[in-house]
Amino acid sequence: MTRLPLARLLSLATRQLLRDARAGELRVLFFALLVAVSASTAIGYFSSRLNDGMLLRASEFLGADLLLSGSSPATAQQIGSGEQLGLDHARLVEFSSVIAGDAGIQLVSVKAADSAYPLRGQLRSAATPYAAEQPGPGPRPGEAWAEVRLFAALELQVGDSIEIGSKTLRLSRVLTYLPDEAGDFYSLTPHVLMHLDDLPATGVVQPGSRVRYRELWRGPPEALAAYRQAVGPSLAANQRFEGARDSNRQIGSALGRAERYLNLASLAAVLLAGVAVALSAARFATRRFDASALLRCLGLSRRQALSLFGLQLAILGGGASLAGALLGWLGQYALFFLLRGLLPAEIPPGDLGPALAGIATGLVALAGFALPPLAALGRVPPLRVLRRDLLPLPASSWLVYGAALLALGVIMWRLSLDLQLTFALLGGGLLAALLLGGLLLFGLRGLRRLLARAGLPWRLGLGQLLRHPLAAAGQSLAFGLILLAMGLIALLRGELLDTWQQQLPEQAPNHFALNILPAEKDAFAASLAHLSAHPAPLYPVVPGRLVMINGEPVRQLVSKETQGERAIRRDLSLTWAADLPKDNQLSAGSWWTPARAGELPGVSVESELAESLQLKLGDRLSFSVGGLNREARVSSLRDVDWNNFQPNFYMIFEPGTLQDLPVTYLTSFYLPAQQERQLVELSRAFPAVTLLPVEALLAQLRSILAQVTLAIEYVLLFVLAAGLAVLFAGLQATLDERIRQGALLRALGAERSLLLRARRTEFALLGAASGLLAAIGCELISFLLYRFAFELSWQPHPWLLALPLIGALLIGGAGILGTRRALNVSPLTVLREG
């Protein structure tokens, strides 16, 4: 039998596989892979579709899926390539203008939009000021809509005419909601919306005039990505892309965390899969030592023997992965069906990606975890047919663990596309495994001495663990990993939700008030105190632009598409404060120290902006404020919580620096929805003040968080189910030995209760040890994750100490259940074996 054609080998492998499958032998491995692949496919689908759904909501705040904006119009080629890709397109041109009326003049932000605008979300308007708003298409050519504050400021009526540049437009409705302005708290001027067709006639757009061009795009993600890629290289210095994800800090960070969490849950499922596959593949290999020896004896080469068993595994793996992917795909439909009342109606169907990723996950896990035990089959000495005690030479442990780690790493990276997260998990897991494995080994060895005088159930139960401390440590680590994965998912779920809840308390400010004049400041504060229980303080605001850093023009210093670039492109709201605002933390420097004569006044800079602009303490900053130049030196850097719906500032000056400049005030406050009427009164009493409701944004955020919470809870269930299934698969791996032991003890006269006590002792102890490992590992990994992946502050979690108890109960219970065959086995088995 020197040459065996592949077809023959394949048919032999298939036949053996079918025979073994009928005998129930390979079911464990099949089941482990099925669970793994279906869990990761279902989670993959669920999170990717949910994410798409959430992105869809987030894109409302952009009015589009993708935005190409610039201070010069997009080229025909840039537009053409989007249209070629089949993307929907809308165009918006923004500029500032002054509108004169009988009551005075007012600076306004004008949006000239074509009829397709907006591509996501809806415009809302009202027939008269303070009337009920209605959704619908924007103004027709010849018409304009304006916000109520413009009507108030210029004492206008619906039907009046206004002039924008040289074009006269009729004010046909009151603009109440622009989807792409909902998150912009700092827009200081009222908005006017007009039709794009009227723009040339205004004569406003001249070379050199400050105009913002926005090309809005809508379409499938692949087409959008292709568009970004195609147009990216041709972008002019003043142009940039904006996607739903980067359009809004709050939503961006909520989405980012949710995504990371869901990825983490998939990773946990994969980790569990790996453990299950490793356990059952080891059993697969051990049970084929005899067959391998026999085949070798009959003349099969080592390579052929390996191919034969490898093919069996490959067929099994392929089948299980396909079935798992199908099951996972159906599973996520069931999940969406269950959650149909709570999720957005429009959820994109999802593509083949998660299914393919699930299948790949199964196959890579099989390769990484099953190949090392399989390799042992090739090394079974043929002499084993005569001497059954001959075992194959063990593989190099580097090979065994290296292959598994590599497989895990590849899968994790593929799932998260995040090296940091992968390394945190893999590194933390490895470190925890080594450390805890060593500890456990040490503990088990110590236990042996203690156990010499212990009762029979203890010695029977623990004998197995102590006889093979390395195997016991491995088993405990495997169970520990399951508990760790489940513990970590539960822990992060709680932590993420808490963090979000804290950021968005029930009474988070839902209105911003801008442009409060110094003369009205006290009266406004008094009125506000009536309306709202806890308004934020009134912050002075002076609009100003950062122009130079250490004497060098700032435009030369910053690169495109950075936060710094965005910050210097427009006026910043500059403020001063004697005390460090709540939710701000100094990260460098110190809060105000008395300035010495001749020294520049201090300014405290938000730390992310400082990083983007590469600012250091002591740098000299020049601002252009109302045509004047002001200088300050960076005296401190601040971490700002941008998610708190409070007025936040990039630049806070030392008191006394800006007081001489024209100043307005800014605050935020909470008003219950039913008090809208009072808002109207407030607006009428202070017509110059801009009241900006952010309730829509808040509601949107809350609904996203509610979805994420639900997703997280269901995903946790998936991981739990996968963990339990894997646990049973693991127990199956030791079943042969237990059945033999059970039968022998029964033959020698042991009662069932003794066996039960022994098992209970063994599994409870194993579970407790695993739980302890899991608790320590959980803390270690959570520390790394919080620090490096989620940027949350880490605190110890005492409740993790319950894990040993949970482990003892869970693994104790599952252990008894999973090995009950060994308890009920007929003692006659020992004779048959003999």
């Binding site: 102590l466 006889r467 003890l745 006659l828």
Partner: protein
């Protein structure tokens, strides 16, 4: 009460198979007094091990009954039969059947501990000494040779002073020299302790060391020799 320690009456065993019911044992009767030794011989598949299993209460017959040390096994459930085995029965198996997780001493202590005896350690140690393994008490089965493992198994079988010792091919896995020494030990201890020995074997020489011999063929008793 009968003076017999082990009685089988019209024992039969039928198992389901693909071709219908298969009778492994037909209507078999035998009776052993304390101290007797009986060899059961026959070709493979003749029903030897099935008979041993039924006599020891490891399995229940389809027809007939077994009385072991005065207990009618048919009327007992598995745990009650286990108790009877713990009190009255010892086993020696072809493949030794030691628990890998226990060392030699602990393996021998096992039957005494199952009976709840407090002197298990001392008695097991003494018996291991007697079978020549006094220096191997803390060795695990894997660290012992086949012959040594069978000595441990024999010590385990005798340590609780059983009324009946069942041995299933006790020398089947050993070379002839070691097998010889193991069978010497088995019969020596049996004599010393006055147990009834029921031995299943292929080895005619070993079989003929017993007082009585029965031969099975296709589940039928074909020969009964009482020297």
């Amino acid at each position: 009460m009968s003076s017999s320690i082990l009685i089988a009456r019209n024992l039969s065993k039928v198992v389901p198979s693909a071709e219908g019911e298969l009778t492994i044992l037909h209507d078999l009767c035998l009776e052993l007094s304390p101290g007797d030794s009986l060899a059961i011989v026959g070709s493979s598949g003749s029903g030897k091990s099935t008979l041993l299993g039924l006599l020891a209460g490891l399995d229940l017959p389809s027809g007939g009954g077994v009385s072991l040390a005065g207990h009618d096994l048919a009327g007992l459930d598995e745990d009650q039969r286990a108790r009877v085995r713990a009190e009255h029965v010892g086993f020696v198996f072809q493949s030794f059947q030691l628990l890998d997780s226990l060392n030699a001493l602990e393996n021998v202590m096992l039957p005494l501990e199952l009976e709840g005896r407090s002197d298990a350690r001392e008695r097991a140690g003494a018996l291991l000494e007697r079978v020549g393994l006094g220096l191997r008490l803390s060795h695990y089965p894997r660290q012992l040779s086949g012959g040594e493992q069978q000595r441990v198994a024999i010590a385990r079988a005798f340590v609780a002073e059983p009324d009946v010792l069942f041995a299933d091919e006790p020398t089947g896995n050993l070379d002839s020299h070691t097998g010889e020494r193991i069978s010497d030990l088995l019969f020596e201890l049996n004599r010393e302790r006055g147990a009834t020995l029921v031995l299943v074997t292929h080895d005619e020489r070993l079989a003929h060391r017993c007082q009585r011999l029965i031969r099975l063929e296709g589940g039928h008793l074909v020969d009964h020799v009482e020297p």
